[in-house]
C-alpha cells in the first residue's frame, strides 16, 4: 500500500504522521477518526506494503504478527488495539511505545558503562521471560526491536518471525531453513529449529556483546557457511577487545552465546537473576579467558556441529517451568533446629533432581542490626556473618548443576522484603517456615508467612517443623507409618 498522508483515514483511524517507513511496512501514529478519546495511550498503526493476494513472505510474517499480538499481554509488549481484514485492508493498530531503542544506546557517543549494560540486560531478560511464559518465542530480537520505557522496563517489538506454540507456525517449512536476522540468529535457528526459548537468550547474548565491545560477535554473515560458524565457534572473548569488562560480565555474555542451547541460561529469569546480582556469579574460565577458544576445542565442536539437525522443541512455558528459581526464606533468630532441618528437606524436594534449577537463600535482617559507627556492627561485617550462617545451612543441599546463591536483605518489613525479592527475580517457588519470626502466639494478626502467602507471585510452600527422630518415636509408639509430621500445605488452603 502506498504511503498515507497526515489526515488520511483508514478503517476508522486518522493518520497523524508517519513514524517509520521500512521495506516491509509503514508505521504511522494514528488517532480515532470520530474523535473519541484514545485507549489511554498513543496508538501506532502498522500497514504492510503488500496484501494477502501477493503471497509474499512479508505478508505471511504480518499475518503471524497480527495473530500473536492479539493474544500477548503484559508491559513487555505493545498493547494490541485493532487489526484490519487481511484480504481487504491489512493493518495492525497497537500501543505507540515511547522510549529509546537498544540501537539508540549503541549509537550513542559514549558507550554504556558496566552498570548500565547489566541494567539493560536484566530488563531484556525479564521481558523475554514474560514472553516465554506466554508460550511465545520472539526469534528476531535485535537492537532495533528492543525499546526501553522511561521506567527502565524493556518492550519487545516486531513479532513477524515469532512462534507461538498454540498456533500453527505459518513460517515453518518442510525444508527447514534459517529465518531471522543473520547477526543475532541462534545456532539452532540456523538449522531450522523454531520455538526454543533459549534462541532468544542467544540473541540477548549478541546484544550484550555489542554493548560491551561495540562489535558483533559473529559479524554479519551473508552465506549459509558463514551462518553455520556459530554452531561451533566462540567469538573472541569481550575482555580481549575491552580489557576493562569485568570477568563476571564476560561470564554472562559467553554463557548466553554458547553454541549448544543446553549450555546457555535455561530461561530469561535465570539470566536476569545473574545480571542483577553480579556478586553471586561464579566466574569460570569462560569469564577469565582473554585469549579466545583453542583450535582444538573449535575443531572438536566443528565435527559435532556437522551432524546438527532439526529437533522439535517442547512448549516454551513448559521448558522454562522445568528450571525453577526456588527461594527459601531462612530465619536467623527464634528458630529451632527442627525448623531449619524441615526447611532444608522441603527445599531439596522442590529443587528436584533436574539440572538447571537454582536456589536463592534469603534472610531478612532489620536495619537496626547494622550501625555505621560501631565496627563490629558495620554493614559488611554483619552481612558476612549472616552469609556464613546461610552457607552452612545450605551446605547439604549442594548438588552439581544446581546453583545456590545467598542474600542478606535489610528491611523493617520482613514480608514485604521477601515479596519484593520474589517479584524482582521471577521466583517460581517460595519455601518458608509456617510459623517463624516469633509470631506464633498472635493468631489473629497476619504473620509473616500469611502475608507472604497472600501476596506471593508464585507457589509458596509453608513448612512445619519436624525432626527425623520425632518421626521415629512416633512410629515406635505405634502411631502408624504416617510421615505427616510436617506438610507442604498449600498456602491458600487455610483461608
Amino acid at each position: 500500500m502506498k504511503l498515507l498522508e497526515p489526515g488520511a483515514e483508514l478503517d476508522g483511524f486518522t493518520v497523524v504522521e508517519c513514524i517509520h517507513s521500512g521495506g516491509m511496512a509503514h508505521i504511522y501514529q494514528v488517532r480515532y477518526s470520530d474523535n473519541r478519546p484514545g485507549p489511554g495511550f498513543d496508538m501506532a498503526m502498522k500497514v504492510p506494503r503488500m496484501t494477502a493476494g501477493d503471497g509474499a513472505e512479508n505478508i505471511v510474517s504480518f499475518e503471524v504478527e497480527s495473530q500473536i499480538m492479539q493474544v500477548l499481554t503484559g508491559s513487555h509488549v505493545p498493547r494490541f488495539v485493532a487489526m484490519g481484514d487481511l484480504d481487504r485492508v491489512p493493518y495492525l493498530v497497537m500501543e505507540y511505545v515511547h522510549g529509546r531503542t537498544l540501537q539508540d544506546w549503541l549509537d550513542a557517543d559514549t558507550p554504556p558503562n558496566v552498570e548500565e549494560i547489566a541494567r539493560l540486560g536484566t530488563a531484556m531478560a525479564q521481558a523475554v521471560h514474560a514472553l516465554h511464559q506466554q508460550n511465545t518465542v520472539h526469534l528476531d530480537l535485535k537492537p532495533a526491536n528492543v525499546l526501553f520505557r522511561a521506567d527502565g522496563r524493556a518492550v519487545l517489538l516486531d513479532f513477524g518471525l515469532s512462534c507461538h506454540a498454540h498456533y500453527p507456525d505459518l513460517l515453518a517449512e518442510q525444508l527447514r531453513k534459517a529465518v531471522g536476522s543473520p547477526a543475532w540468529i541462534a545456532p539452532e535457528q540456523v538449522v531450522g529449529v523454531r520455538g526454543d526459548p533459549r534462541s532468544d537468550i542467544f540473541a540477548i547474548g549478541v546484544m550484550l556483546y555489542q554493548l560491551c565491545t561495540g562489535e558483533l560477535p559473529f559479524g554479519e554473515p551473508q552465506t549459509t557457511g558463514g551462518l553455520r560458524q556459530r554452531l561451533w565457534m566462540d567469538p573472541p572473548p569481550p575482555r580481549k577487545l575491552k580489557p576493562d569488562i569485568p570477568p563476571w560480565l564476560q561470564e554472562v555474555v559467553m554463557r548466553c552465546l554458547e553454541p549448544e542451547a543446553a549450555q546457555r541460561y535455561p530461561s530469561g529469569a535465570h539470566l536476569a537473576f545473574d545480571l542483577s546480582q553480579p556478586e553471586q556469579i561464579v566466574v569460570t574460565a569462560r569469564g577469565n579467558n582473554t585469549k579466545g577458544t583453542s583450535f582444538r576445542t573449535h575443531f572438536k565442536r566443528w565435527i559435532k556441529a556437522a551432524g546438527m539437525h532439526y529437533l522439535p522443541s517442547p512448549l516454551p512455558s513448559q521448558q522454562i517451568d522445568e528450571v525453577p528459581i526456588v527461594m527459601v526464606a531462612v530465619p536467623h533468630k527464634d528458630v529451632t533446629d527442627a525448623t531449619l532441618y524441615s526447611l532444608r528437606q522441603a527445599v531439596a524436594r522442590s529443587l528436584g533432581t533436574r539440572p538447571g534449577a537454582r536456589l536463592a537463600c534469603v534472610t531478612v535482617i532489620s536495619p537496626s542490626q547494622t550501625s555505621a559507627s560501631q565496627d563490629d556492627k558495620s554493614e559488611t561485617h554483619v552481612q558476612r556473618r549472616y552469609l556464613t550462617t546461610l552457607r552452612q545451612w545450605a551446605q547439604p543441599l549442594d548438588q552439581p548443576g544446581q546453583q545456590i546463591s545467598f542474600h542478606v536483605l535489610e528491611s523493617g518489613d520482613v514480608a514485604q522484603a521477601l515479596l519484593d525479592y520474589a517479584n524482582g527475580n521471577n521466583v517460581s517457588v517460595i519455601v518458608m517456615g509456617a510459623a517463624t519470626h516469633g509470631l506464633m502466639t498472635q493468631r489473629f494478626v497476619a504473620t509473616v508467612p500469611i502475608k507472604v502467602a497472600m501476596d506471593a507471585p508464585c507457589t509458596i510452600i509453608l513448612v512445619k517443623q519436624a525432626l527425623p527422630f520425632e518421626h521415629l518415636g512416633g512410629i515406635a509408639k505405634g502411631r502408624g507409618a504416617s510421615t505427616a509430621g510436617y506438610s507442604d500445605s498449600d498456602a491458600d488452603v487455610p483461608f
Binding site: 513472505e57 484480504d87 498454540h166 500453527p168 507456525d169 505459518l170 515453518a172 517449512e173 518442510q174
Partner: protein, 250 residues
C-alpha cells in the same frame, strides 16, 4: 455465525448430549454432523433421533462408513469395525435406516466442504492421517468452486493441516480451547476428532466450533459420563472391548 462440527458420535448419546450442551453454551447457532452417527455404541436410535430433530433446525448431516454399514451390514465380519453393524441394524427402525441411507456423502456450502473421510474418493473411506493424505483430499476439494475449508472426521483425532511458507501441507496438533485464526485467504483441512469414541488416551469427547464471521476455529474437549456410556454397552451385550475403550480413551 458459529457452527459446531461434530463427527464420529458412534451411538454414544451421553457424549453427544454433553457436546451439544457445551456447543450451545459456546453460542453455536448451527450444527454439522460429519458422519458415523452409529456403530460401536449402545444408543444408535437415540442418537439418530436427536440428530434428525436437529436437522429441522437446519443442522446438516453427511454419511460415514458406519452409517452405511448399519444400513447394509456385511454378511461376514472381517474386522472389529464391522462387528457391531448387525446389532445396530436390528436396533434401528426402518425409518431410521432409510434416513441414514439417503444422507449425502459430501456437502458443499460456500467456502466449506464437509466429507467424512477423504474428498478425493469419499466412498473409499480413506483415512486422512498425515500431510500426504491431507494434500490429496484438499486438492480434490479445490474442484468445488470457492472451497477454502475441508472438515472431516473418521480418524478420531483433532488436527489442522495448513500450508506453511513452502508448498506442502503442515500438520498442527491443536490445544483445546484456543481460538485459532483460519483466514480464508489460505486453505485449511481439519479433522475435528470423535465425539463418541476418543482414542488418544483421554476420555473426553471431541468436537470443534467454527466462527464464520471472524474465521476462527476452536477445538474442544468435553468431559461426559463415559462410565454410563460404557455400562450401556455392557448392558446391551456388545463386546467388552468397546466399553473398556470408552473408559480408557484408547
Amino acid at each position: 455465525m458459529k457452527l459446531a462440527l461434530l463427527s464420529d458420535i458412534h451411538a454414544n448419546i451421553q457424549a453427544l448430549d454433553a457436546c451439544l450442551l457445551h456447543a450451545r453454551a459456546q453460542k453455536a447457532q448451527r450444527f454439522a454432523f460429519l458422519g458415523d452417527l452409529v456403530g460401536y455404541g449402545a444408543n444408535p436410535c437415540e442418537v439418530v433421533e436427536r440428530v434428525m430433530l436437529l436437522t429441522e433446525e437446519g443442522a446438516t448431516v453427511i454419511k460415514g462408513n458406519h452409517d452405511e454399514m448399519a444400513v447394509t451390514p456385511p454378511t461376514e465380519v472381517k474386522h472389529v469395525g464391522a462387528s457391531t453393524a448387525a446389532w445396530t441394524h436390528q436396533q434401528l427402525s426402518a425409518a431410521h435406516r432409510t434416513w441414514l441411507d439417503t444422507l449425502p456423502m459430501v456437502l458443499h456450502q460456500d467456502k466449506i466442504l464437509m466429507v467424512h473421510a477423504s474428498a478425493d474418493a469419499p466412498d473409499l473411506w480413506r483415512y486422512v492421517y498425515d500431510e500426504r493424505a491431507a494434500t490429496v483430499s484438499l486438492d480434490a476439494a479445490a474442484q468445488w468452486p470457492g472451497v477454502r475449508y475441508v472438515f472431516g472426521g473418521h480418524v478420531h483425532e483433532q488436527s489442522l493441516y495448513y500450508r506453511g511458507s513452502s508448498a506442502g501441507l503442515m500438520k498442527f496438533s491443536p490445544q483445546p480451547g484456543v481460538a485459532l485464526p483460519v483466514p480464508s485467504h489460505r486453505q485449511w483441512l481439519s479433522t475435528v476428532g470423535s465425539v463418541g469414541q476418543p482414542r488418544d488416551g483421554r476420555v473426553d469427547a471431541m468436537y470443534a466450533t467454527l466462527d464464520t464471521d471472524r474465521w476462527q476455529l476452536t477445538f474442544h474437549r468435553v468431559p461426559y459420563d463415559h462410565y454410563a456410556a460404557a455400562s450401556a454397552i455392557r448392558a446391551a451385550g456388545l463386546p467388552e472391548f468397546f466399553a473398556e475403550r470408552l473408559e480408557k480413551g484408547r
